[in-house]
Symmetry: C2
């Protein structure tokens, strides 16, 4: 009988304890799937007293000692955050251990260096759980679609903001009210900044873009806008044009160059946007996640499921754990990501987007012409315009064609200065319209 | 410079020519992703004169000679059917070559023997393209979800039947009319038997069940019913209870035993069924495919995309080709499927299902009681019943709770014999109801 593979578990919060439970309860199945028994070598936590359910002989506060122990073969990192996770991961690689991680922030900040360290040590770094929880999306991008040319990924990858926006659409509530409800129900954390301001989604977008376009993209490369400025008016206006508001993580390959980037480049952004209710992503409600992928040959694909939670995230961690365990037994590391294409990251100002704009204007001759002229002067062409009069005032709802984002935001700034424009009541980007 | 990896392409129909085109047009990208140039060694076809677009020096009618050529590293089999595909695949394995296949019929009939031959030779057998075209589903099952316990897979895996059923729902047409339209538009083949009678879906169900439950399941194990008996009445009745009719491939792990199978077992079936319009699969229309997966920890997942066509299928083939090429360079075969669980396959008669039944009955006292008594005698409990009177006749619409399929079909047979039942106007299984 061969000796069991030993796993060091770093962190034992919601995800860690679900992983630990599965390793214990499903030991037989996991052993059969790996081809060798898999055992927990130890669990590193900050405060052992807070983990009465974990056998005391497994608990340790010495995470570094645990990952470098000779009998440890594999490391599962579910601490989150940058440090000490990064140092522990690097120590694991140096000691020849493969790592499974759920750490989106760390991978998005320092993925290139971490992958280089893993490759140098000839070990694996897998992190399916870092993006969209239980939904298998990184492996399909890394492997299934590696023979295709990806053009675009649009994802709903943050459950908290999706819950808030879903509630705003269902109840007509404003952002503050919906956030308060989400906090009360446990869908939003006490400090919701990481979710609400798009940091979480931006980290995931960076990871998705890196794999999809074979190009290193870090969180700092991602244009990021959160949902705290989305108003009940924005949501109502979206419904009027057959759309719904979602926080989207968009990764796209942009061809045809731009002033500063003449070749193909990659644009990665996170912002709220209107999408048509007929789009497959529009019906993804509540705390669910979905990732929509467009590839040259495969066409349109969508991956849907639970994006967070202990059990779903543990499922992704365990899938990776079985894979790195098998690789370990086969004496080979798996297929790492490839950064060979190394495309430029295009700044948001030069990224083509479309806008929806609602204006309160004076209802008198020449106003529509003046507004239209303002768009034209910035090189922005208008797709649809709807004018509704009400006494001496009128509402203008304009959806533009695609134009560089800077031209669109400059147009909005100019409209705000026009005498005939009494107010810009709603501005949101639009995605997925024909 | 290392010598390029050489690929033998067997078959050059719709999928084969899309693969060939991609290998030629995207040679640089594929080479970068593999880490070595990939070249076409030859293309085996029956009638070279029918392939004027293929360089003449690549074409050969000697498929066996091509797969066993010393300079060939990898084989792509897109001939389809059982022979000569099986012999060629076995010859490839014996000659130490990995194989990528899109052949659902062969894998569903003989998957165990083929995997054994590949494992013995230490080479790969990958076939993502065999199920649901471009949708990455086999790799997620084989790898991403390998640390989880799958309970159920429900798939729309045949585009032809989905198109026909979608049109029946949209237009109220009968099966014959919708099939004629599908044939005219090229969505159905001249001989539509494989699609319409569920053979294609059954082969895919067998492959999905094998991977999901770590148990060998062949096409012969799959209970199969096609859609040619689905009537416009069935479709209308479905709409009345908030459902839509789909041809479903269902693979489930059934616990709690049955008379002949006391332990956990696997039930695999293909048949038309009503599903609620709120179910994620209900909105999968036209020629699209989708696979809905339920796992213990991951919860509900769905994979959606194009299930057929040259380009989408070629995307899946190329993804596999890159993987087996990388494995080849790494000197290791990838993770094969595992049949360790080896669960029993439960016969359809003992598989729990739910039925929808519409009856024309005499509208007089005691009829409902008599009908209800017939269900009770067969041990079938009723979930909902709706009676609509119209003069001396009435319509009874009954949805049952779950019961062994044999008890349900025996109940229907008995109802047909009842004097008070003037006709059984619609019988269809129901899935996904709460």
């Amino acid at each position: 009988m061969n000796r069991p593979l030993k796993v060091a578990l770093l962190g034992c919060g919601t995800v860690g304890s679900a992983v630990l439970r599965a390793l214990q309860e499903q030991a037989d199945d996991l052993g059969a799937r790996v081809g060798r028994a898999v055992e927990v070598a130890g669990v590193a936590v900050r405060r052992p007293a807070h983990h009465p359910d974990v056998p005391a002989d497994l608990l340790t506060t010495d995470a570094h000692g645990l990952v470098t122990r000779d009998d440890v073969d594999l490391v599962v990192e579910v601490i989150g955050g940058i440090e000490p996770a990064r140092s522990l991961m690097l120590a694991a690689f140096e000691a020849g251990k493969s790592v499974v991680s759920a750490n989106k922030a760390l991978l998005a900040e320092d993925g290139v260096a971490l992958h280089a360290a893993a490759a140098k040590a000839g070990v694996d770094l897998y992190y399916e759980a870092a993006v969209a929880g239980a939904i298998p999306i990184l492996r399909p991008l890394r492997e299934s679609l590696v023979g295709d040319q990806l053009s675009r990924i649009v994802g709903i990858v943050n459950g908290t903001t999706n819950y808030i926006l879903s509630r705003m659409a269902e109840t007509g509530a404003g952002f503050g009210e919906a956030l308060a409800e989400a906090t009360e129900l446990g869908y939003a954390e006490a400090d919701p900044t990481a979710d609400v301001d798009g940091f979480d989604a931006a980290a995931k977008a960076a990871i998705l873009a890196s794999l999809a376009f074979h190009t290193p993209v870090s969180a700092a490369d991602v244009h990021r806008e959160g949902i705290s400025t989305v108003t009940a008016t924005d949501v109502a206006r979206a419904a009027e044009i057959g759309c719904t508001v979602k926080l989207l993580a968009i990764c796209e390959r942009v061809a045809n160059g731009s002033p500063t980037h003449p070749g193909d480049s990659v644009a990665v952004r996170v912002h709220p946007a209107m999408i048509p209710t007929t789009h497959p992503l529009a019906s993804v409600g509540g705390a669910f996640n979905a990732v929509f992928v467009e590839a040259e040959a495969a066409g349109q694909l969508m991956f849907y499921g639970q994006g967070a939670g202990g059990e779903p995230t543990a499922s992704a961690v365990l899938g990776d754990l079985v894979a790195v365990a098998r690789n370990r037994l086969a004496g080979a590391a798996g297929q790492g990501p490839s950064g060979y294409a190394d495309l430029a990251v295009r700044p948001m100002a030069e990224t083509p987007t479309r806008y929806h704009v609602s204006l309160d204007v004076a209802d008198k001759p020449g106003v529509l012409a003046a507004v239209a002229q303002e768009f034209a002067q910035h090189g922005v062409s208008i797709s649809t315009v709807r004018q509704t009069g009400r006494g001496d005032a009128a509402t203008l709802v304009i959806v533009t064609h695609s134009a560089p984002d800077a031209a669109l935001s400059a147009t909005i700034a100019a409209l705000r200065e026009m005498a005939a424009v009494r107010g810009v009541t709603s501005v949101l980007r639009v995605e997925g319209l024909q």
